[in-house]
Structures are given as structure tokens and as C-alpha cells.
Amino acid sequence: MNESNVTFEETLAELEQAVARLEAGGLTLEESLALFERGQALAAQCEKTLEEVQLRLETLQPGEAGFESVPIDESGE
């Protein structure tokens, strides 16, 4: 969860890879369909992430092992 943006990038990268493989062609119909379906699922996942994502705000506080990043509740904004 902490790295959902990394997941987004990875998902987008995988989506782009699926598109590139489909574009390259030379696949069986079954392979093409599988790639298409995988790509659709990845795109949906990306869109869901983009829709739901919210900026997370943290602040640095001195801790035992150096500075710690602590979430800030912004609801009072």
C-alpha cells in the first residue's frame, strides 16, 4: 500500500509491454486474446488506482534511529 505508486508504474509498464507484444504480432489467436485480456485488466487496474489515489502527507520527526516519516492527518484542513 505504501508503494502503490510503484505498483501503478509497474502495472502501466506491463500494460505497455502487452501492447508492444500485440503490436509485434506473429502470435496465435489464443495468445493475442490472452494478451488483450491481460492488458484490459491492467488498464482497469491503472484506472482504478488513478481514480482512488490520494496524496499522502507525512512529516519528519526525530526518532531513535534518525528521522522518522510520520503521516499527518489532513482532515482538519
Binding site: N5, E16, T28, L29, F36, V53
Partner: protein, 408 residues
């Protein structure tokens, strides 16, 4: 052209333009500061400011364009001692030379300004501001560090921009005061603190607008050096558009305001990403139908090839061959039979020719004993024996009367 020639005659416009050109050619007049007291300050509807700078000896007419006026944190008032920055020029329409003023600051801060310039020159000479020291700003930052005061509008500005443009990021605030004498060490400490966070991709060093003194901590040598020393790329956004601090010069990227810093930190927005996803979705569909038609093409081709290679044709032609062959076989058999028949007749004739029966027809006879044994030797019978005689037509039974045996 000698000394005897009459003096050159000019039009007013010509001589005024010539004088104006003289001003422009003198580099000392193109960037200068003039200290004096403000008087006759007028700012009409155009927004440009017109005033006179005075000291005990003389007066100097000044004009300040609207953009420069608006960029002033504060416009000095009548009677205030100021330092005016700008260039000297000639306004042809009224034939007046005047100072085109870019910036006004209180005369008391003249020292401050000199210190700023000196420090800037020193750090510049050290290479702190070199372009090749500037690091690239990541396109898709995972974690954005913000060094500023938690309670300021600048932070809210930054957060609002980030929420709108790139809510995928995690923002880590490294709090510090950004005003006052105590600020520089705190800013340095906050920069160092954010640099302990290994996952931060870019740091925003921001502060909202304020007076020259308010922003002065960003001209501190320690702050400038801390910006340069930052392991993480730094985007500065201090004050307003016209405010250039040493921290700005030291930063990897200088933004005119805190909001602009947040924008520069997010070159790719969530809208761009959504568009990229959509585009990939579209390409998926396009390439799939491409793959389908490619497969259909292959299928068509294979079906055609298959038809071409089908055994039906062979079967048909084989069937025809069989028909033809059987016809040929029939006639061949027929001919063979004819041949045999003819040959048989010939053989029969030959056989007839050597048959004893035909010999008999010529008058010869075959003699045999009662047992049917052909008698070829007279010694084999005795007188009184009965013998059979086969003639060409019919048989006789006879009795041996006499015998003569040949001695061999």
C-alpha cells in the same frame, strides 16, 4: 570635411535619437543604481509609476513600468530614501532623459544588497551555481520532500498543486522556520534531515513572498551550500517571480513561486497518465483486431492451400485412369485370346501332321497284342497268337501264321 564646413544641421527628432543612442552605447548607463529621495510619485491608471529622485544637488526623472511596480513587495512612498535600479534612457517625445527603474529598495538595505552581490560572486566563482552541477528532476517522483514551514500558505499552495497534478506521490515535510536570524541553521538542518530519507526523489525548498529581509535567510551562505550539498535534487520556489535568492541559484531548478515549484516537480500529471492508460487501452483493441485479421488471413491461405492439396482430385484422376486401364485391359485380353486361338489352330495342324492316325490314312497299320501292347518285333509273338490290327478306319483281329525274326 574640414573645420571650415558649416555645422551639421539636425532635425529635433534626429538629434534626440542620436542622444538616445549615446545613452544606449554607454554600458555604465545600462545597469546602474541611483540613491535618492522619492518625490512626486504618481501611479496613473496605466499602472506605470512616475516619480522624481532628489538629493541636495539635483533631480532625476524616473519611470517604472507596471510589471516592475507589481513585482515590488512594497512600493516606497513620497519622501522615502531609496536605491533605484535600472538603466538611463531618453524619452524622445518630451526630450527628457530619465531612469527606467526596474526595482526600488529602501536605501538602508544598500549594504545588504552589496553583501548579496559579493556572496553571489564568491559562490559563483567556487562553481556552486555551475549548470553542469544541476541534476535532472525525476519525471515520476514517488516521494516528494518539502522543506518549509508547516504553517504557511506556501505549503498549502504546494499541496494543492500536488493533489491536483500528481496525487500518486507521497509528500514528506521536513519542517523548518523560514524567517528570521535563526532560520538558516534550521533550513540547513531540514535539508539534511530530508536527505536521510533514502526514498525521497526530489526536494522542494519553498517559501511564500515577503520583504527582502523576510527572504534574506535564503541568501545565507550556509543555506546555499546545503542546497548544493543535497544528495536529492532541489527545486527552489522562494518569494515571487522577481525574487532571486542564492538558494535559487544553488538549486537544481529554480521556480518563481512555491506553486510553480510543485508544478516543476511533477512534469507528468495524473491526467497525462490517465491519457496514457487510455491510449494503451485503445492500442490493445487495435492490435487485437490486427491479430484477428492476421490469423484470419492465415486461415484463408491455409484453407486455400488445403483445397489445392486435397486428394479428391487425385482420386478423381485415379478413377479415370482405372476406367481407361480396364478398357485397355479388356481389349488386350481380347487380342491375347485371338492370338492364342490362332496359335492353337496352328498347333493342332502341326499335331495332325505328325499323328499316327494320319500315317494310318496313308495305308499303314498298328499291330498290337491282345494286351494292347504295340508289337514292333516279330519275335514278340508266336504263330497262333491273335493280334489286333488298327487301320485308318476300323480294326482287325488276325492270327499269326508264320514269323520271321530279324537277327540284329
Amino acid at each position: 570635411m574640414g573645420a571650415m564646413d558649416a555645422p551639421t544641421r539636425w532635425t529635433v527628432g534626429e538629434i534626440t535619437r542620436y542622444v538616445r543612442r549615446l545613452f544606449e552605447l554607454d554600458y555604465r548607463l545600462q545597469e546602474l543604481e541611483v540613491e535618492g529621495e522619492i518625490s512626486d510619485l504618481r501611479i496613473p491608471g496605466s499602472g506605470h509609476a512616475y516619480f522624481t529622485l532628489k538629493d541636495t544637488d539635483a533631480q532625476l526623472r524616473c519611470v517604472m513600468w507596471r510589471t516592475a511596480v507589481q513585482a515590488q513587495v512594497r512600493m516606497p512612498e513620497h519622501g522615502e530614501k531609496v536605491i533605484a535600479r535600472g538603466r538611463m534612457g531618453v524619452y524622445e517625445a518630451s526630450g527628457q532623459y530619465q531612469l527606467y527603474c526596474d526595482q526600488l529598495y529602501p536605501a538602508g538595505q544598500g549594504d545588504l544588497h552589496a553583501r548579496f552581490e559579493a556572496l553571489k560572486a564568491k559562490l559563483e566563482a567556487e562553481g556552486l551555481f555551475d549548470q553542469d552541477r544541476k541534476r535532472p528532476i525525476p519525471e515520476l517522483p514517488h516521494v516528494i520532500g518539502v522543506v518549509t514551514s508547516p504553517s504557511t500558505a506556501a505549503l498549502q499552495d504546494v499541496l494543492n498543486v500536488l493533489k491536483r497534478r500528481y496525487p500518486l506521490a507521497r509528500v514528506v515535510l521536513s519542517p523548518t522556520t523560514v524567517q528570521g536570524d535563526g532560520a538558516p541553521p534550521q533550513i540547513v538542518a531540514a535539508l539534511e534531515a530530508i536527505n536521510t530519507q533514502t526514498d525521497v526523489d526530489v526536494v522542494l525548498l519553498v517559501r511564500g513572498g515577503g520583504s527582502l529581509e523576510d527572504l534574506w535567510c535564503f541568501n545565507d551562505e550556509r543555506v546555499a551550500r546545503a542546497v548544493t550539498a543535497s544528495r536529492i535534487p532541489v527545486i527552489s520556489g522562494v518569494g515571487h517571480e522577481i525574487d532571486f535568492t542564492l538558494a535559487d541559484f544553488a538549486a537544481d531548478l529554480r521556480a518563481p513561486t512555491p506553486s510553480a515549484a510543485a508544478e516543476l516537480a511533477t512534469p507528468v500529471t495524473i491526467d497525462d497518465l490517465a491519457e496514457a492508460v487510455l491510449e494503451n487501452r485503445r492500442l490493445l483493441g487495435e492490435y487485437l483486431s490486427g491479430a484477428v485479421s492476421e490469423n484470419r488471413r492465415r486461415l484463408d491461405q491455409l484453407a486455400y492451400t488445403l483445397q489445392y492439396l486435397s486428394p479428391r482430385g487425385k482420386i478423381d484422376s485415379a478413377r479415370q485412369s482405372i476406367d481407361q486401364l480396364s478398357v485397355r485391359a479388356d481389349s488386350a485380353m481380347h487380342r491375347l485370346l485371338e492370338l492364342r486361338r490362332a496359335k492353337l489352330a496352328g498347333t493342332r495342324r502341326a499335331l495332325d501332321a505328325i499323328s499316327p492316325l494320319s500315317t494310318l490314312s496313308r495305308g499303314y497299320a498298328i499291330v498290337s497284342d491282345q494286351a494292347g501292347q504295340v508289337i514292333g518285333n516279330a519275335g514278340n509273338v508266336s504263330p497262333g497268337n491273335l493280334i489286333n490290327v488298327q487301320l485308318h478306319r476300323g480294326r482287325l483281329t488276325a492270327e499269326v501264321i508264320k514269323q520271321e525274326v530279324d537277327n540284329e
